[in-house]
Structures are given as C-alpha cells and as structure tokens.
Assembly symmetry: T
C-alpha cells in the first residue's frame, strides 16, 4: 500500500499568476485549481501531498533542503529557473530524492533558451506540454516509480 | 464519451528488442508486455488502439501517412530516429494529427546527441524517462487532450 | 491630458550603491538624486511615479507582478539581472505592460556578457549609455508612447 | 535533336501527399498533376522521362543506382532527405550523372535546418521555391545543360 | 494576357565583366549577350523588361527603390552583395515586390561564405547554377508566378 | 548657453522611404516629418542642426569625414549599415566626435543579424525602438552630454 | 583453436557498386572480390564468415539484430550511414557484440562531415584507409581480439 | 602586525548542507566545523573573521555591500552562483575589496558548466579542490596579500 | 630590365585622413607623404606607379576592373573593406593580377573582427604592421615577384 | 620479393611506459615486447625494421627527417602529439613518405580532445584500438601498400 | 609524522626568467628565491623536496616519469604548457601520483587562451594567482592531502 | 649610423629542409641560401646578424631567452610552432624585444589551422607569402623600425 509515500510539488516563479496571464500559452486553470486537482488525485492514490510556490530562488532552495526529512519524491516545475538555476540543481542533488521535472507548456515550441534545463539530467524524467493534466500524470508516474523502487 | 477516439502508438528502431537488451537502461518489460498493458488501459479509457513497430524509417513514414484517415492522435517513440529523421517529422506534419512524443529512458542522462529531437516542437508535449509506465501516462494525457479539444 | 498615466521605475541589484561605486563608469549621482530628478520630471509631465530598487530577483518579480493593477508602463534598469534573469522576463510578460529597458552605462563598451539582455526583445525599446539623464529620456519616451497608444 | 536524352525525376519522402497536405506551403497540385505536366513538357522537349517517388531512403538509393545505365540526367527533390541523407549523396556520386536539385517551397523561409543540403555541392544547381512550375524549369534547364555538354 | 507585366533584372558587382573573366566558372557569354537573350524571351512572353547592372551597392539600392512604381517583379543576381548587403535586403523589403534570386554559378560548390544569402528568405525562390540559361528560367518562372497571383 | 553646439544627424540606407514602407514596423512619419520635428526641437534647445541621408556607404563616410570641422556631436541611424559597415565605424573613429546611435524600431525584436552593431561600442549610447520620438530624445541626450562635457 | 568463432561482415549503402564507381577513391576490386578474399582468409583462420550488404538502413538493423544468436563479432563498414545513423549504433549496442569499424578509403582526407562516426566510440577500434586489404586486417584483428577475450 | 585586518568569508547556496550531502564529493566536515577551524586560524594569524552563508543571491549581495565599511578582504565560495550570478560579481566590483575565490571540490572534474566562473577575472586568485583545508590556505594567502599591499 | 612593370596601389576608406587621425595607431605621415615616398622608390626601381584612394566600395571596384589592361600587379590596403567586402575580392579575382595585401597597423593587435580578411587567400602575401614603410617593402617585394615570374 | 622494403616505426611520448601504466587502457605488453613481436613479423614479411621512441617532439622531428633517405614507409603512433603537433605533421609532409597512423587504444572512447589528429588527413590510413596487435596489422597493411605501389 | 613524504615541484618554460621579466605580472622574486622559501617550508613541514625547471616539454616529461619511484606528490606550474601539452597530462596520468596545479598569476585575468588547462581535471586542485606565496600554500595543502590519504 | 643594431633571425621546425621539400610551396632556395642573402643585406645595412634554426621548441625558447642581452630585434619564422606554441610567445614577451613575424608561404592559402598565430598580436607586424625575399624585407623593415625608435 502506498499510503506512506509523501510527495512534494514545487512551483517556480510566476506560476502564482497561472490562469491570469498568457492564457493562450498556459490555459485558464489557476495554480489553486491545479493544487486542488492534485489533492484529489493524492487521496485516490493514498499519498500525502505538499504543494509549494515561490518567486524567490533562495526560498525554493530552502524548501527543497527541508524536504530531505519529509518527502519521498519531488515533482518540480521550476518555470524560468529551469534554464538559469544551478543552485536549485545543487539543492536537488543535495537532498538526493527522486525528482520529476514538469512543464505545463511545451518548452520546445517556445524561445530557444527554454530548451535547456539545468535539472533534466538529474531527474527521473520529464512531463512536458501536457497542460495542468501534467501534474496528475507526474503524480501517477511518481507513485509508480516509488512502488517499483520499494525493496 | 470517448469511445470514438482512435489512438495510434508508433515505435521506432530497436524497440522490438526491448526487455532483451540493455536492461539497466530500458528495464525488463518487452514491447509485447507494453502493448498488452496499453491495450488494457485503452479498454478502460474506451479508446481504440493500434500499436506498431518497425526498424525502417520508410515503413514508419508509410504507417504515419495511413493514420490520416484512421486515427485521432499519435503517440510516437521514435527511438534513434528522434535525433536524425526529418522525414518522420514531415510525415507527422503532413497528417496534421496531435502527437505525443515518448521516450522510455531519460534521454537527458545519456549521450548529448540524444538531447535533440526533430519532432519536439511539433508535438503537444513529451513524456520522458518514466519507463514503460510512460506509455500509459501518454494514453491518459492523449485522451485528456482529445476530450479538451472536442468542440 | 496625461495626468492619469502611472509609471513604475524598477532598479535592479547594486544600483542602491550608485554614485558611491565605480564613479568612472556610473558617474556621481546617487539613486536618490535620480529618483528626485525623475519626480520633478513626472510632475512636469503630469504623471504618477513609483520608484523601486532591490538586490533580490524574487523581490523584483513580486513587485513587477503587483504592477499589473497599478501601472501603465514600466521603466526597468535590471542591472546584472539583465543578463541572467529569465524569471524577470516572464514576470514582465505576465503583467503585459509596455516596458522600456534602461542602462546608465553603455553596456556595449563593457564585458561581452553584458551585450545579451533577456528582455530586449519584449521591451518597446532601450535607452543605453545616456547616464542618469537616460531616466528622464525614458520618462519622456514612455509618456509619448502611452499618448500615441491612447485610442 | 534532343530525342535521345533520358531524364529521371526522383521524389523523396512525403511528396506522395502533395496537394493533400499543408497546401499553404506546397500548393494544391498533386504529384500526379506534376508528373502529367512534366510528361507534357518532355514530349515538347523530345526527351524520355521517368518519374519516381518513395518514402524509403534505401529504395531511392536503389533507384538512383539503376539510373546509371538508363539516364542522362537526374532531377531530384529529396524532400526531408535533402538535409539528412549522405547515402543519397553517395549514390548520386556513384552513378556520376548530372543532377539538378529541386525544392517546391523556398527552404530558406522555413526551419533553419532546411537550409543545409547534402547534395547541393555535387549538383549542377538548384531550382528552389518556384512551386510545381519548378519541375518544368528544371526540365528546360536540364535539357539545355545536356545540349551544351554534347561534344 | 501577360503584356502588362513589367520585370526588372538587376545585376550586382563584377557581372559587367562576365564572359571576360574566370570563364571556367562563369562561361563565355557576356552580360550583353544575356541581356539580349532576355529581351528576346521577354518579347515571346509579352512582358516589358528592364536590365540593370552596377558595381555600387548604393546605386543598386537607388535603382531598387525606383522600381516601386514601375515594376511587378524583380529578378536579382546580387553577386558578391548576396553575402554582405543587408541594405539591399532592406530595399527589397521596402519596395515589397516579388523577388527571384539568381546565381549563374552553383554557389554551393565554391567558398563556404558564398552559401549565405541575405535575401534568400525574402525571395520567392532561387535559380542557382543553371548558367546564363538561368535568366530565362527566372523570367519563365517569374511570369508564371505573376499569372498565378493575378486575382 | 548651448547656442554654439552643432549637431549632425546622419541617416543610412532606405530611411528616405520612411513612412512609405513597412509602416507596421516603422510608423507613418516620413523622414521629412522627422527632420522638421528635429529642427523645431533644435531651435528650442538653441543648437544648430544638420540633417543628412544617403543610401551610399561611401557618401555617408565622406559626410562623416567632413563633420570633423563643423560638428560637436553626431546622431547616427545607420540602418542596414549598422550591421555590416566597419568603414563607417572607422570614419566615426577618425573624426573623434561623440556619437549617439539611434534605431527607430526595436532591432532586438527583428532578425537576429540586426542585434549586432559595428558602432555600439564606440558610441556614447543607444536610443532604440522609441520611434520617430527617438530623434528628439537623442537630441536632448546629446545636448545634455555636450553640456556635461564642457570644461 | 578458433574454429568456433563466427564473424559477420556488414557493408552499408553503395558498397555494392564498389569497383564500378569512383575508382580513384575506392580502387577497382568489387565487393564480390573482397568477399572472396575474406572467405579465403576465414578458411585460413578457421572461422565461419557471413558477408552482407544493403542500401537500406532498416535492413541493416534487422540483420544486426539477428546476429545476436549467430555471431561472435561484427566487422562493419557502414559507409554513408557511419555519419548519420544512430539507429545502427543502437542496434549494435543492443546485440552487445564486439564491433570493428572499417572504412576502405581514408575518411579524414575527404569532406569534413565524413570525420564523424556514430559508432566509433562503441567499437573496439577502426581500420581506416587500408583499401580492400583492410577487410583482411580486420579479420586478423578480430580473431586476435576474440582469442584474447577467451576465458 | 596584522591584528587590524578584518576578513569576511562568504558561502553560497547549499553549503549549509556540507558534510551531510554527497560526502564523496565534499567530504564529511560540516560548515560549522570549517568555521571553527577558520576561527582558530584567524586567532593564530591575529585577524578578525566574519563567516556567513545564505542560499539567497540577494542576501549574499546585501552582505557583500555591507562589507565595504567593515572588511579588508573577502574570501568567497559562491557555490552554484559561481556560474550564474553576475549580480554577485557586480557587488564585489562595487565594494572594491580584494577577493579570493574558493571551491572545496575540484570544479574542473565535474560538469562542464562548472568550469566558468563569473568572478574569476576580478579576484586575486583561486583556491580550488583543496577540500576544507582550502579555507585555511585562503586565509593564509589573504593575510599574506594584505601584508604585501600595506604601504 | 624592369622599366616596363606597372604597379597600381589602391587605398580604401578613411585612408585619406591618414596622419590626421588616431596618430598613435597610424603615425603622422599623410597619404600624400606615402604617395611621394612610393613615387621616389618607383623611380629607383624603374617601375610605373599609379596611386589611388576612395571611400566608396563601388569606386574601388571600378578602379580595380580598369587595372586589367594597365597594370602588372596591385598593392592594396583595403582598410575597413578588408573585413567586409567580397565584391572587392571578386574584382581582384576577375582581373586576375598578382595582389599584395597591405596594412599599416598590425591588425592582429586590434579588434578581433580585424583578423579576418576577405582577400588574404587570393593574394601573394601580406605586409602588416610595418607602418608607412610597408608600402616601400610591398613595392620591393612586388617587383621581386614580377621579376621572378618573368619567363 | 619485398626484402628491400625498409619500414620505420615511430612512437611518441610516454609510450616508453607501456605495460607499466594504466594497464586497463593499454594492456600489459611493454614497448620492448611490441618491438620484439614487430621484429618477428618483419622477418616473416622480409622487410627491414627500425623502431624508435622519444618523449621529445623535436627529437621525433629530427628522426622523421632522417628517414627520408633510409625508409620506404613510416608507421607512427604519435601518442599525445597526435593532437597537438603540427610540426610532426610538417616533418611527415617534408619527407614525403607513405604514413600509417596507429593508436593502441580506441581514441574515440576517451576524452574528446583525443578525437582530433593533426596527421590523419596526410596518412594512408589509421589502425585504431586494436591493441599491440595493431602494430602487426600496420606492418601487414604497410607492406601490402608498398607492394601495390610498386611500378 | 610526515618526514617520509617526498614532494616534487616542477616548473615549466620561461619560469627561469621569473623576477627578471614582466614584473608587473609576476612580481620581483626569482625562481631561486621561491625555491629557497620552499626549502625552508619543507624543513618546517618535515618533507623532502625536489625542485625542477625546464623550457623543454620532453625534458619535463622525462622528469615526471622518473618521479614515479621517488615522489609522493607533484606540484606543477606548467606555465605555457598548461594550455598546449597533452603529453605532460599523459605523463602525469602515467605516474599516477597526486598533482597540485599552480599558477603564480591569475590566469583568468589574462588572454582567454590561458583559461584552458590540459591538466586541471586530473589534478587534486589548483592554487591560482596567489603569487610566489602560492608555492607555500601548495606545499601546505599537499602535505595535508597526503596525511589525510594515509591509511 | 645603424652599425650598432644587432638582429637575430630565428627559424622553427623543418625549415632546415627548405629547398629540399615541397618546392611548389616553398621554392628551391635552401636555408643556407637565405642565410647568405641575409648576411649580404646585413652588411649593406650595417647591422650585425645572427641566424638560427632548430626543430626543438625548447631549444628555440632557450635561444630567444639568450637574445635578451645580445639583440635589438628578433625576426622569427616559427613555422609549425606559429600555431601551437604559447611557450615561444611567452619567451618573446619575456625578453621584451621588438619582433617581426615572417612566413615564406602565404599561410592564408593553406590549411585553416595555419591562419592562427600565437604571436601575431605581440609582434610589430608580419611579412607573409613573399618567399625567401621576405627575409630581406623583414631586415629592411626591422632596421627602419629600430631607426624610428631611436631617441
């Protein structure tokens, strides 16, 4: 039974504006809507969920560091920090938890600088361009990964 | 009701050896195992499924072209052709169906030439590194996409 | 009459030291001096002015996000974040206000990494190398832009 | 009199869908329409014509190799293989016939990877972006070339 | 009937020496010979023709600017300016006429810097390497384009 | 009093067509309109103004060379020569006058080759994307610069 | 005794034309001549030999996959696919047999794109530029390798 | 006597986890252990020491700015910000103090992006890969530098 | 006897200002001084000399073209056009005379874009950085070359 | 009979340590062992053999220069100088003898800088990664080459 | 007790001129002065010291090879060979001793080609820019490393 | 009178073979012939001459270092070391004498790696491609430089 798994979902800068900005790119669901749908799925999957957002790189790093004691897996949508933050990469390396990288929009359809991710090679994998639904896919995939990794 | 959706899953070169080669990278499930799990999920989702593999770029192109009449969405794991085939990209553009790109392993952890995909910017999105489970996530995400796109 | 226009001027890291560091590059006016000259001009132009500085990328993002309700145009001197912050770019995209990019010194005369700006292609334009006077030129140009854009 | 000249026109992948895909880029003429107009012109020019299409790189190579005995000049629209196939280049080098490279659309207006051709430096020249009419121009130019080369 | 079309052929630097220099690359026809053959074809096609050459970038720009009132299409062989002149590109953009780019020799067989053209992405297409015959092909193709574009 | 300052405004190729071409990029003011508004401002500022345009790189160089005796500052909009002319750079270096670089449109929103300027590192600064208003900002900034530089 | 070793020699596209094309580069021996000399040497070395050629990438992949059960070592001359086929690389990785890469001509003396091989880092080594004799050297070296690897 | 020298040691993101993460790369000493050994050496050297760590780029900048009044030299281990922060570079430039750059691990043995430092050219020098002992070497070297610089 | 040799010296843009600009780079001799010293040497060497300067690329091309009938060798200091003019290269190729490239200052000590010359590979050689004396060295070397080439 | 052929084998820096360093990469045979096996094969082949090693680039150049009189073919394993010495390339060009390049290990499996060879394009070919056996293959191939080249 | 440690300090080309050349970059201490200060420190640390310099790459390689029997650690200042010698890298790899890389000046403040070191990734670490004092820091750090590595 | 000037001419690797190798590139004069012609000119110019050649980088460095006491100017033809030796650059910097760089052949007509010189930016200038005559031109230019530099 997967009741014991604790999953932390971390969201990077400007995702607090989701649903209120550039809806042609990001859709109309707000981050609160996404959190709610994630919580519903977490209950179905029998896992504990934490959901976090910040615009501050340092705050995101602090939060990742704290996860070391309290989480089994991190789902992270680093938004713009995907492309510029080695410090977040180092924080994820430091806590040594499995990580799933998530992007709501298809970063490969956008500016070329969005193609590079500082964390893609230290993650299990990526869910990209699947919209808000991507969070649920990441939860499903993450629980599946944890179950497969159970000794 | 989604009964009407028809989904085509296309697998590129060497995936026929899955489970029998490099199991540390690709796991032990065979392509037949994956097809079976996909068929099970397709029944749950109420969609029709076609599942295809070839080592021949030309055969894959022929098959994509035929999908125009018979499919609503393509899930494609182009394997090595991900990085070299513009002809497959053109076939996907020509049939003008929504495409989900899938990779079993995390291509960002491997040789640098595997980072470039000829189709990532014409797909809806990517599911990368989630193992055989990725096929099921792609099916879920694909059906979700088709439902959202229904007028 | 332009009385109604509200303009936000945002200053990035280390600009709080202006006039007290590297005076051969940046001159001897302090940021407070610049703010004062901007406030004088704003009164002449009949516009409301907000003037803000922070060394923290996250704080700058938070402030840009708040501008959405309260500003008609942003003049931004992102200083070092010009070259590294995609998150500030995304915040500017999210609030969808006209932006004028400003640099006190001529960034093209300095280290080559200062040539690249993450926001130049989403701004109206740039005022570069005109010294503290550049803030007044940006105000003039910004008001002119807003007047021209008025239906 | 040019009656003796034999010209082979080879078409690469996805050109079989011409007129049925992306008509804003490629127009509405089908490949059969183009073949017909070429046959008409061939009669006017007094030359023999072969017209061939395949989606398979290997089949195209086989066909080029056979041309050695039966053709005086090759007009080739390699489509996507323009950018990726060194094997087709080598086949053309092997048969040592004059080659005219043809593209229906202006490849310089499209994705940057379409700018590179593996065969442009071994061809006589290129006809690019002139639409289906380009085939007729290539025929005219090809016959002119053969006549000029006649001892 | 196409009597009304007016076509301007513009030739760039050193083309005045054609037939008198590097005949192994450019053949033995002079520019006057080419002009004559073009005039013959123009009569056959029922179009008006202007034919112009200069070694001066500025003079070429002036001439292109004047075409705005008097031409329906420009055929341009920019010679060396193909690779260096953005000003000619801008002049062509400014007059907003359809443009066919022409090169007598196959620029892809020569120095690598000849591969880049500043105008290829704003032209209809290119005729490359077809020798003096290329001018006639461009005329044919240009008239065909104008007829297809006629409302 | 600044009566003594003499300012030369130089405009590069195709700017003579301003207001008559690509109005979505450059607006509807003609170069004559801009000259007139500059003359009005020059009177207000108490400076002498010369205003010059040519499509010929050599003519622009000749004109810059003559400025040595007759000008205190050059405002230059080199248009396409911004990106290709080292000779204009050398002329500006030779006369050793302060230079302000001006672009009407935001060159950073356009083709990537427009990002590079051969003169940006030898100018005081740049006014970019501010439309025809940019000329007036450059005049204001230029006069301010000359006043600050007065012993 | 090495009687038990089974060696597969695979030849890529256009090698079927050997001796009949570009003899200044490749010499006058045909592929049949080479096969015969290899069979003679195989008998001397006491090894079983299979010898295969195809112009089709997919067919080559199929053949490599079948080798898994029936071969101890692969000698491969991938010809043009050396530079473009990641799928052949993946097939070789999948069967996990020792591989010797062979080129008849010295690829370093030819076009620069021939310098890159997709398989050189997964092969034991390369025999390059030694002409048809290279096949015999590869056989000698391969048998030596297998003998050294015998427990 | 060096009693008067005040040295500030600044540590960047994730160094607070030292000794608790990736011990194969960073060893088992915690940052507190390092601070203690630095304080012991500072007493031996007769210098005042401040020791600071933060995960927040902005906080690090604030702290560097404050050093202007209170320090004679900065030893900085910017960790991940080494590679991404121009704002920290600018802060160091602004306070205009001598700087020694320090890295515990050998950054040249790790990912290639760790080779680039935004501050290496404005520092006195670097101590790299010497483990926690590197802090003591930097202190020794820093005091030596200050003594040599004393008029 | 070398009386019959005719040598043309061509000088590019801004060289008319020599001795009056940037004397720290170019010295104090004017172009007229250089011409005079060249004429003196020409008499000593028994050769005819023409000496030409223009700021206009087109005028330089025209002049080079005329040299075909009247010169045996060209010494050219293309100044800024060294780095940007392919048209001058083509003119030199067209007249097919031996060329010596000359630069007064050492272009390798200056901006990196001055390292590239469009004509260095079609010249006999280069005389760089030898100051005005370089013209005399080029004359000596040129006459020597012509004498050696005499049948 | 090939008795007359004289072959020189040259070994570059650090090869004197062979068998005593990094045996996982280079095996356990010493250079003396290899020399002995080469001498045995030379007797079988009826050729004279010289075998030379030095760590000094200059000494290797001297030795290559002397070969001009005394050798028919050079087999060279330049070791680290493969990647850095143009002087050895020039020496090989100067003596104008056929050269076979040899590497014991597969340089394509190692650091990327080992992929580039300064001599690969002037050699007949390369034997790479075949271990000490490679020397014997090179001898066989070299003698075969000399026999084929005999008039 | 560390009496048993033997440390070899190796100095590359032109370091014999230290103190007599470019004193603004390298200071006024001669290499003999540095050797003396190193010997003093070695006595304090209780280690044996060898100190060596050569301008010859081959001689440096010979010396490194000999160290295998007689040294526990190498401190090397390869000077110019830092950037060009792979042979020295290979010698260091071959003797398999711990290495500390040392540069007297800050190579990151100088020409960009000095940023690359062929040995930095095989060394323990680097001491850069600390002046002659760097040798003493390297000795301290080296002894510390050896003590920590002692079983 | 220039009797006192002492000039050292240094020749790099393989120049000892001059006249005996690749005569189509380098001509038929031997190095001894060149030395003799230099000595004749030196007498005419009233300067002392030393003439030196070595294939060993270290020997060349030693020789340059000795020049410090005994020479006023160095003329150097570094041959292959032009492109690879930073150590020779450093030796030239260390002795701080004026340097003229000389190449017999036009390096810009040859392999692209010959375009880069490690010393061109620290020399007075270059004489390139003027054949053996270049040595005499360098002597003339060098004496002229020394005379101009005399206080």
């Amino acid at each position: 039974m997967s009741t014991k798994f604790k999953i932390l979902i971390i969201n990077g800068p400007n995702l607090n504006l989701l649903g209120r900005r550039e809806s042609s790119v990001y859709g109309t669901m707000t981050l609160a809507d996404i959190e709610e749908s994630c919580r519903t799925r977490a209950i179905e999957l029998g896992v504990e969920l934490e959901f976090f957002q910040s615009n501050h790189e340092g705050v995101l790093i602090d939060r990742i560091q704290q996860s070391k004691q309290h989480s089994d897996l991190i789902i992270i949508n680093p938004a713009a920090y995907t492309h510029t933050s080695i410090a977040i990469r180092d924080a994820l390396l430091a806590v040594d938890l499995p990580v799933i990288e998530l992007h709501i929009s298809n970063i490969h359809k956008r500016e070329s600088f969005r193609k590079h991710s500082t964390i893609s090679d230290i993650a299990i994998g990526q869910i990209v361009g699947m919209g808000p639904k991507g969070y649920l896919l990441a939860l499903d995939g993450g629980v599946n990964y944890l179950e497969d990794s159970r000794p």
